[in-house]
Subunit: 357 residues, 2 copies
Amino acid sequence: MASSILSSRCSLSSPAAAVARALAPPRMTLACRFQSSVPMPWGSMAVRSVASRNSSLSAVAPETSAKVIDGKLVSGQIKNEVAAEIARMKDTIGIVPGLAVILVGSRKDSQTYVRNKKKACKAVGINSYEVNLPEDCTEEEVLKHIAIFNDDSSVHGILVQLPLPRHMKEENILNAVSIEKDVDGFHPLNIGRLAMQGRDPLFVPCTPKGCMELLHRYDIEIKGKRAVVIGRSNIVGMPVALLLQKANATVSMVHSYTKNPEEITSQADIIVSAAGVANLVRGSWIKPGAVVIDVGINPVDDAESPRGYRLVGDICYEEACEVASAITPVPGGVGPMTIAMLLSNTLESAKRIHNFK
Amino acid sequence: MASSILSSRCSLSSPAAAVARALAPPRMTLACRFQSSVPMPWGSMAVRSVASRNSSLSAVAPETSAKVIDGKLVSGQIKNEVAAEIARMKDTIGIVPGLAVILVGSRKDSQTYVRNKKKACKAVGINSYEVNLPEDCTEEEVLKHIAIFNDDSSVHGILVQLPLPRHMKEENILNAVSIEKDVDGFHPLNIGRLAMQGRDPLFVPCTPKGCMELLHRYDIEIKGKRAVVIGRSNIVGMPVALLLQKANATVSMVHSYTKNPEEITSQADIIVSAAGVANLVRGSWIKPGAVVIDVGINPVDDAESPRGYRLVGDICYEEACEVASAITPVPGGVGPMTIAMLLSNTLESAKRIHNFK
């Protein structure tokens, strides 16, 4: 499987490359012209460095060579595998995995995420349960619903859609989810097990697990490689770094206090960027032949788009294509993997609870 | 306080330097000639590198400049602070902190450690409790004693001396210690909180906390600095890396799968070595002016010693003295800090349990 995926390249006419082309701005004219509308937390050095390298890189004729790591394709494969396993479980022991989602308030983006999760559950045969609570409900009401799902044997995974309203303490609510049903893997006990040698978490957080799955399915060696993770959030950067380290990479973490991010990233064989800064990582930040995983999904102004904006990653895709050996596009890279991993974690939970091998 | 400590240097006649001189082998003749009697897990590259650099470095006249980071002195200060706080607590609310130690089997080294811990407790006014169980006792017996200490309100810290006999599962036993009394900080829930932004562990593991305390008390800036941690054990390397990262250093972890450790360490402003390999880190591995914290305590053959061996660190002390700006000796560096931090954690626990500010 890996070899057929690997044949797709930035510039070839494979399905993956077509996806990549559809997502990528026209060569040279739009490359990395989209700048983030959020403040850059990376210090003036990084910004200067980007500015000084831009002109010289733009002058060079592009020689695209990076393979496209096709998250849409891989997530589809994973969903098929999950669906097959769910069917086998139902046929064998009559159990259907269940995922409960708690949504507080009426944020449009959260509603979309929850709707997509429900749709994805349905497609693979997971029962989904949903509770919608008003924006002004109390922490106790949320906790009450978590307790009900904790005790409900038809529910194998519980997910509280973030962000929560400001008057709630996220930590209290996430800690209330039974560790056996914490399919998001955000419980500190899970994170602790992820960090420790000789221990395994019950669940690996979905997006970091998705990044690792892409590396594994594309046969990218991790052991002994230099890996740099950009960003150190609890939900992506930090757990990705722990996973890469568990896989025996030599890991460095770059963050907003790092003085010379480019110097460090340019030593890496594998770069995972989860900074949330549009086009932060330029071609000059990447070692020739490195593998680049882009977790960022950043809206940038684009007058040519009907919506007035478009989504780009943390990596300057056009420039990276010329340097990296493999790269995930945005969208269509890590994004689709997150839901696939949520489905996979829910199945895993049901199998563990019912001791189904 | 820091300035008076900082005046001691490798070659000066301060008390700290005297300690260092007493510990260090005579210049040039013995420097780093002690090789580890344990197998090197660092690959042939590291070993070759050491061999090739050795002769050239020996030929250069030494110019010692590193300040000695005096763990014995700092740990004495911390013990005094802990003792004063315990006296205040006793006077104010009549509570005396208590530390319980469970020792299984009759390993000589473990008995020595437990004896030293009891002695240190006594010196600062902590009540110590001890249970000695035979080598062949069951896991259930150990768990029973943990449960008793968990419920005992006069006990604020519980410590299971490691290693445990082979027939016991360390994970089961350590997990049984109440998180509120886990003064060793080894519980995965504690480690998870250590890893996560916006969360704090109840207890920071003692040796890593000791390393950080030395950096803090010597006014060594961490924020924005490049830090490299060598070794990734659950009890030292990994938690030290998490702590350095929480303090906003840019952290890289070097371990047995790292192909070019010297290249990475030589970029670091702060090196913490917890590899357990005698004299692994040569002068050439260290950036001029770097701060070097040596957690290793390695026995090496020494025919001149009455015991037939001596203890050395992971860092080649003589060579490092010529390159680093500050360094911990072995012994007398990190070593004495571990027990001081255990006492500090026990006090902290008693204060938290009794809500004493």
